[in-house]
């Protein structure tokens, strides 16, 4: 968490490193200090012990010498020689004062006391330290440490009194007390304590330690062995201790306080700690300031980066420091400018149609998305009416230039409330804000007007018409895709009706959900071969022969059974699925006919083409390949086209029909009579056959009006050189009437219902037998 901020990280790393170094230094100092202290204490102890020994020896010699000098004092000797006890008593007191001895004793050579300053009576007592005396016998003089009757410790020196031979011993006792200990302590630098150990326990006889520590010392001292070293814990302090022997049951403890030895190092460490803490504080402050200096421009840059991320390229990066970060900021600013430029280009590419410079589909959809939710308006789809023939006749470059010119002209309609865009090909889409039906109608009208002036390209004068579809929002839809589709459907309706403009509300609803599922189901059916062809025979009335069959599609639905074409073909046409269906129908029919031919049945199949098929430029190539593949003569295939299919785009339809005719195919106009095409128009088409709609033929004998229409149509067609097919011939009367009125071919239930391919050969045999019987 705390490492997330660069500033903190810098501070932590800096201060952490400092702390590490300081900790190492401190650890080193502390370690070497404690080592130095330990070594120093041992050294001090050893040196102190040595000094102590020397001092004791020196002290002994001095005392012995002093005692010897005193013992040689003539008057002293004279007094001793008197054998007069009071005299002796007073002289030893006097001379004791001179030499500074607290105890004086005169001892006879036999070891008995003559006089002493401690305990005057009774006389003739045995000397309390015969060992010193015997030492003195052999060495001339002796000294040692003795506890006297008063319980105190004395350094006792025994020297002879010579006159000139030894006439007595004089013993002088020098008090070993706290002062003595303090004096020695002052010289050795060690705490000096005299300890006595006997059966009763440990007693501190004298010490330079303060009173409070003495009891602790006597408690702490364990087995005291001369020369032994050890550490004692006394009164909260640690003492390194060395023991020196003093007498039989007494020894001296020389001690060095560890704490005192550590004190100067402790103060050094305190100084170090102060330096460390101050250093850390200064370093922390410094690194915080440094980190801020580093991080502040970084933060500024980060802020700029966030703005750029949000799409705001406007604000330039502020000029920062002149260091690396400053250079980074400069580079950053350059990057911002480049990115802004590039985004501008990308936006242009993304939202602009490169051919016309108009906004494209994406832009329009996005713009629609930006509209307030409750806004009203219209989506207008405009499609050029005769663009395909222009494109194929004059070539795509010309087509593109025409589109560009149109775009230029339409561009003048751009305004705050109107977005002009080109979706694709020759389709332009307009988004009108705050437009009601009337305003949209006016706008569509003005568009039509704008295109009325012809365009001139390379000297060619080109007239352009367009069909427009209008969808209003929110009435016809709430999203751009729906509105566009509905406007497009309306546009197709307008195109079909040649009405120029159509409104979505009038052009029909959206495909129902079941129809939507139908698209999917049709694709499935295609994949699973659920489509099949039925064939309906056509009777040549002159010869009484069956020479042709019409291929009619059926859908064998696994659940719904056989679905008639009226239920799905119109939808396939609307959705464009027919483009996939028709090639299959052609393939299947041609394959079937080829099969029949191999078994000796010669039939010409007729296949229905929809408006989309006719307008499909790939159809010709497809048909050519198909015919060649199956080794059929082109005239052995007939295609039937309704009038309305031709009306969608008459020019293009004509172009394609001409190509089909040139290929040698038989062409028939289907459902003649329900459309509005005139025979005059039809006459301009390269068709061979005209199929009169069944609604005229059915019961023609009983309906004089229909009979008149059919009769005159037959006559006119014959006059124009067209063959006439009567559809819907349901009764023998109908057939008889058609035959009587020179109709060329009849088709209908009166002859046969559409049937599966496998039934046809049988039916043909049966039909031949029946005819033979009638004949």
């Amino acid at each position: 968490m705390i490492f997330r901020s660069l500033q903190r990280r810098i501070v932590i790393v800096f201060v952490g490193l400092l702390l590490l170094v300081m900790a190492l230094v401190l650890a080193l100092v502390t370690r070497s200090n404690s080592r130095i202290v330990a070594a120093e204490i041992q050294r001090e102890l050893s040196a102190g012990a040595q000094v102590f020994s020397l001092l004791m020896e020196q002290n002994r010699r001095q005392l012995e010498t002093a005692a010897t000098v005193l013992a040689a004092d003539f008057a002293f000797r004279e007094a001793i020689a008197t054998q007069d006890r009071p005299t002796i008593q007073s002289v030893i007191r006097n001379h004791g004062l001179r030499i500074g001895a607290q105890v004086m004793m005169v001892i006879r050579p036999d070891g008995n006391l003559i006089a002493d300053t401690q305990n005057i009576a009774p006389a003739d007592r045995a000397v309390p330290f015969p060992d010193l005396l015997s030492d003195a016998e052999s060495a001339g003089k002796s000294s040692g440490y003795k506890q006297m009757k008063d319980g105190r410790m004395y350094q006792v020196v025994v020297v002879p009194i010579l006159a000139p031979q030894r006439i007595a011993w004089v013993a002088m006792g020098f008090l070993v007390d706290d002062r003595w200990a303090h004096d020695l302590s002052g010289i050795t630098g060690l705490a000096v304590s005299v300890i006595r150990r006997d059966q009763t326990g440990v007693t501190v006889l004298a010490s330079s330690l303060e009173q409070s520590k003495r009891a602790a010392l006597s408690d702490a001292v364990g087995d005291v062995t001369a020369g032994l070293r050890g550490e004692l814990h006394i009164g909260g302090e640690h003492y390194q201790t060395i023991y020196m022997p003093l007498g039989k049951e007494t020894s001296v403890a020389l001690q060095r306080s560890v704490e005192q030895a550590e004190a100067p190092f402790q103060s050094l460490q305190n100084v170090l700690w102060t330096i460390v803490l101050a250093g850390v504080a200064v370093f922390s402050f410094g690194s915080v300031m440094l980190a801020r200096r580093i991080v502040r421009p970084v933060n500024v840059l980060a802020g700029v980066a966030r703005r750029i991320e949000a799409g705001d390229y406007a604000e330039p990066v502020p000029r920062l420091t002149s260091d690396e970060i400053g250079q980074l900021a400069t580079s950053f600013d350059h990057m911002r400018e480049r990115v802004a430029d590039r985004e501008q280009k990308i936006l242009k590419l993304a939202y602009e149609d490169s051919l016309t410079g108009l906004p494209n589909r994406t832009r329009l959809i996005e713009e629609f998305g930006n509209l307030p939710p409750e806004s009203r308006g219209a989506v207008v789809v405009m499609n050029l009416d005769r663009f395909a023939p222009i494109n194929s006749a004059l070539g795509h470059p010309v087509g593109d230039r025409l589109l560009s010119e149109i775009g230029l002209r339409l561009g003048s309609f751009r305004s705050a409330t109107c977005l002009v865009s080109r979706f694709w090909g020759d389709e332009f889409v307009f988004l009108l804000r705050d437009a009601d039906r009337a305003a949209a109608a006016d706008f569509a009208e003005s568009l039509t007007t704008a295109l009325r002036h012809p365009f001139t390209l390379d000297g060619h004068r080109l007239d352009v018409d367009a069909s427009l579809g209008v969808a209003l929002f929110p009435d016809d839809g709430r999203d751009a895709v729906t509105l566009h589709r509905r406007a497009e459907l309306a546009m197709y309706a307008a195109k079909r009706r040649r009405s120029g403009i159509a409104f979505a509300a009038e052009a029909g609803e959206e495909p129902l959900p079941e129809q939507l599922s139908l698209i999917w189901e049709m694709r499935e059916a295609m994949a699973h071969e659920q489509f099949l062809l039925y064939y309906q025979p056509k009777l040549d009335l002159a010869s009484g022969q069956i020479t042709e069959v019409e291929a009619l599609i059926r859908w064998q639905h696994p659940q719904r059974g056989l679905i008639p074409p009226m239920r799905f073909i119109p939808f396939a046409e609307n959705t464009g699925f027919i483009r996939e269906l028709t090639p299959w129908v052609l393939e299947a029919a041609v394959t079937q006919v080829a099969h029949w031919r191999r078994i000796g049945i010669n039939l010409v199949p007729a296949v229905n083409l929809s408006a989309l098929d006719i307008l499909n430029p790939k159809l010709i190539g497809h048909l050519r390949r198909l015919v060649e593949q199956h080794g059929l003569a082109a005239k052995s295939l007939c295609v039937e086209i309704t009038e309305s299919a031709l009306m969608e785009d008459p020019e293009l339809a004509l172009t394609h029909l001409n190509e089909l005719a040139a290929l040698g195919l038989k062409l028939a106009i289907d459902d003649y009579g329900v459309g509005r095409a005139s025979l005059g128009y039809l006459q301009t088409l390269p068709v061979h056959e005209l199929k009169i709609d069944g609604s005229f033929v059915r019961a023609v004998a009983e309906t004089p009006k229909n009979a008149a229409i059919v009769k005159s149509t037959i006559m006119l067609c014959h006059a124009l050189g067209l063959r006439v097919v009567g559809e819907g011939a349901e009764t023998p009367d109908d057939l008889a009437w058609l035959r009587a009125n020179d109709c060329d071919v009849a088709q209908g239930y009166g002859i046969a219902q559409p049937m599966p391919a496998e039934e046809l050969p049988g039916w043909l045999v049966a039909f031949g037998v029946r005819r033979w019987k009638q004949a």
Binding site: A72, R77, E78, A81, G140, L162, A163, P164, Q165, I167
Partner: protein
């Protein structure tokens, strides 16, 4: 104590060199070394007639008292001539004769008369190492062993005597024996245990003085 009497041997000596009443004495240490400066004293049990006494001299020379040991008859006057070019301060705290001759040079005005029998230790107060011993006896028959540990008492009349042995550093008093002396000379031998002489430090003489 009397069993100790066997410690000495009395021998009757025969020979032309020896006169009647001559007593030859030898003193040795327990290890058999001859012991000089030991006194052998014969005190006549029956008493004796006093005669004139010689004046004895204990000189101070080279910061020493010479001789180290002197035996004298009671009443003998001893002179202490100082032959050193500096003064001495002679003293004795011994009960037999306590005296003091304060710093003097040359011969003191009068000799010191040792009028009581007993042992007298002499010292110099300004030269601690100087020491000498005087044994004052109540008999004219006495002698001191020489460097070979021998002593000779001549012309001792026959009779009973208390025989005493003494040395300044003897470790213990020896018992006194009665010795009968006849006409024949006698030879006596005695073992005597003594402490070694404590050699006190003697600083070298300051040459500048003389």
């Amino acid at each position: 104590m009397y069993l100790r009497a066997v410690c000495f041997t009395a021998l009757l000596l025969a020979g032309a060199s020896a006169h009647a009443g001559d007593i030859e004495a030898a003193v040795i240490t327990p290890t058999g070394q001859p012991l000089p400066d030991a006194a052998v004293v014969l005190e006549p049990v029956a008493g004796y007639a006093r005669g004139p006494l010689p004046t004895v001299t204990i000189a101070q020379r080279d910061r020493e008292l010479i001789p180290y040991m002197t035996v004298v008859q009671v009443g003998t006057a001893i002179e202490f001539p100082n032959q050193d070019p500096f003064k001495h301060h002679l003293y004795s705290f011994s009960p037999a004769k306590t005296f003091e001759i304060k710093l003097y040079a040359g011969k003191p005005e009068k000799p010191i008369v040792f009028d009581k029998p007993g042992e007298v230790a002499l010292g110099c107060n300004i030269h601690d190492w100087m020491e000498a011993y005087v044994l004052v006896v109540d008999t004219p028959y006495f002698a001191k062993t020489d460097a070979r540990g021998r002593a000779r008492i001549a012309h001792v009349p026959p009779g009973s005597y208390r025989l005493r042995w003494w040395h300044p550093r003897q470790k213990q008093d020896l018992p006194v024996h009665i010795l009968k002396i006849g006409a024949a000379p006698m030879r006596l031998t005695q073992k005597l245990d003594v402490s070694p002489r404590i050699i006190k430090p003697k600083p070298p003489l300051d040459k500048e003085q003389y």
